[in-house]
């Protein structure tokens, strides 16, 4: 394992130090926590937006803190949901009296830890609402199991709910729009190589030189299927098709596209994938309103990518296009 780190057990702490140093004009760390908030938090009268999860997905989530997106990001240990006390600190730090909204990715750990924090905050009289993001079509959508994971599509929830809150939306408005995004966003990912959690020191799984893992999450978990490695066009087709099959888009529908790199896949390759994705959508008469290509939700140094489609209407378009000053999503 080769990493540019100091102590494997201090990577989150060291990262936050460097992050705050980089964006000292717009971000601050809540003292003695792993919570990053807008420097001007809490903003009186504005709904506070909190997201978070394990670390190792940078720029998610701290990179999305800023005017027009999140008010706070709670950074857990690498790939480990943050603890309730930290989430609770975030809620308190961004509570401007209009309530606090939590964006939670659908992992058992995240859901439970955020829920306990909600209970703590509600006991203080803070209004708290939440949305659970579950955009990963690789996983079966079932109420008998954990259900679908939240992956790269979460970025669109941050952006659009963030714009709504920034525009003065109420807690219920923000919840409604976040749920609308969740209902309209789908993703699917694949990987060519695993990643190594610093404190573990070993790759999360092993793949032969001719294998790829399809249906990847963002925590180095194995995917849903292992296959012989395919061309970029084949990969793009498979991911896009699975997403489309689940969405039921019609010709003339409008979408936003996100081709997300998982960590070590060169941007060149992401563009190659996007070339095919956009070709497929064009063939189906689906209009692409906006495309995002890059590393938005990573899995340390995993090689691979995911394709996300968000079905848009006028309201979602306007909020997606609204200004954002978050370092990782300048808009």
């Amino acid at each position: 394992m080769k990493k540019i780190i100091n102590d494997p057990n201090l990577v989150v702490q060291d990262m936050l130090k460097g992050l705050v140093a980089a964006y000292q004009n717009s971000l601050k760390q809540v003292p003695n926590t792993t919570v990053i908030v807008r420097k001007d938090a809490p903003i009186t009268g504005k709904v506070g937006l909190v997201s978070g999860g394990g670390s190792g997905h940078e720029p998610a989530h701290a990179g999305y803190v800023g005017q027009g997106m999140l008010d706070a990001a709670v950074c857990g240990e690498v790939f480990t949901s943050p603890t309730p006390d930290q989430v609770y600190e975030a809620i308190k730090a961004v509570n401007g009296g209009a309530g606090v909204f939590l964006v939670i990715k659908n992992y058992t750990g995240d859901v439970m830890n955020f829920e306990i924090a909600t209970e703590l905050a509600q006991a203080d009289g803070i209004e708290v609402e939440q949305v659970i993001v579950n955009d990963d079509v690789a996983v079966e959508d079932s109420s008998f199991t954990t259900g679908r994971r939240g992956i790269a599509g979460t970025i669109f929830v941050h952006k659009i709910a963030g714009a709504k809150a920034q525009a003065g939306g109420s807690l219920q408005d923000v919840k409604a729009i976040a749920e609308k995004v969740v209902a309209n966003v789908r993703s699917m990912g694949m990987a060519l190589s695993p990643c190594t959690v610093p404190a573990a020191g070993k790759p999360s799984f092993e793949l032969a030189e001719n294998e790829m893992e399809v249906g990847m999450g963002i925590h180095g978990e194995p995917g849903t299927e292992r296959k012989v490695i395919a061309t970029a066009d084949e990969i793009a087709t498979e991911l896009t098709q699975q997403v489309l099959d689940d969405m039921g888009l019609n010709s003339d529908d409008e979408v936003a596209v996100l081709v997300n790199g998982l960590g070590s896949t060169p941007e060149m390759e992401l563009y190659i994938v996007n070339g095919k994705v956009s070709e497929i959508l064009k063939e189906k008469g689906i209009h692409i309103h906006k495309t995002f290509v890059g590393e938005y939700m990573t899995s340390l140094e995993m090689a691979g990518c995911s394709v996300t489609l968000l079905k848009l209407d006028e309201e979602l378009k306007e909020l997606l296009d609204a200004e954002s000053k978050a370092p990782a999503f300048l808009n």
């Binding site: 394990g54 857990g76 240990e77 690498v78 790939f79 480990t80 949901s81 943050p82 603890t83 309730p84 006390d85 930290q86 992992y107 058992t108 750990g109 439970m112 830890n113 829920e115 306990i116 690789a138 996983v139 079966e140 008998f144 199991t145 954990t146 994971r149 959690v197 404190a199 573990a200 070993k202 999360s204 799984f205 249906g215 999450g217 925590h219 180095g220 978990e221 194995p222 849903t224």
Partner: protein, 206 residues
């Protein structure tokens, strides 16, 4: 049987020893069907538990359990943190003013802990989670008039091993569906360490 502060501290220490010794093993189990951090999470959390409880003086098991709960809740994270944290919090509430803990109190405490776990995690029995170990343990306590260390060890061990053949329905392993079969559930293994340690404490007393 009777459990006082000293014996519960002993239980926690034995649990911590097993977890630290098997940190890599737990992590490798989680790597196979999860995200490869269960050993790291549990070792971080239980080390903090020992650091905290070994430097604090307790006059009641209830207070001790509460500190364990808060430490696990705030140091473990992931799925296991809130589940183990909730379990100890429930136990702290049940044993209050019922100390030292007798068999019935232990039974009630573990039953309440399991209820907390079920409520928090929404898993069912046989979903291949730590519920699959806690349930037969609680059943054992309910079935028997007296509880023997060796029986507790055996039941929790069998329960842990039985997770291997199951397909996961909750937790990260659920994403793997059929591919989760043939692997032990990491959280069930750490729960086995907890009960095996309790069994040792009970046996010492027998």
């Amino acid at each position: 049987m009777k459990l006082d502060v000293q014996q519960v501290l002993n239980w926690l220490e034995k649990t911590n020893e097993k977890i630290q010794m098997n940190k890599e093993y737990l992590t490798s189990l989680d790597r196979a069907i999860g995200d490869g951090d269960h050993g790291i999470n549990m070792s971080r959390g239980f080390q903090e538990v020992i650091d905290k409880t070994s430097t604090t003086t307790y006059t009641s098991v209830s207070d001790l359990f509460k500190d364990v709960a808060m430490t696990l809740l705030s140091k473990v994270g992931g799925a296991s943190g809130p589940l183990y944290g909730t379990a100890f919090l429930k136990m702290s509430m049940i044993v209050k003013n019922r100390e030292p803990i007798d068999k019935k109190t232990l039974e009630d405490a573990l039953e309440s802990a399991l209820e907390g776990i079920l409520q928090r995690g929404k898993a069912n029995l046989n979903d291949k989670t730590l519920v699959d170990v806690w349930t037969p343990v609680v059943d054992l306590l309910k079935d028997k008039e007296v509880i023997k260390g060796s029986e507790l060890e055996e039941v929790s061990k069998n329960a842990m091993e039985s997770t291997k053949e199951r397909m996961a329905k909750k937790g990260r392993a659920a994403y793997l569906k059929e591919r989760s079969i043939g692997h032990l559930d990491p959280g069930s293994v750490s729960s086995y360490y907890l009960f095996a340690s309790l069994a040792e404490v009970l046996s010492e007393e027998e």
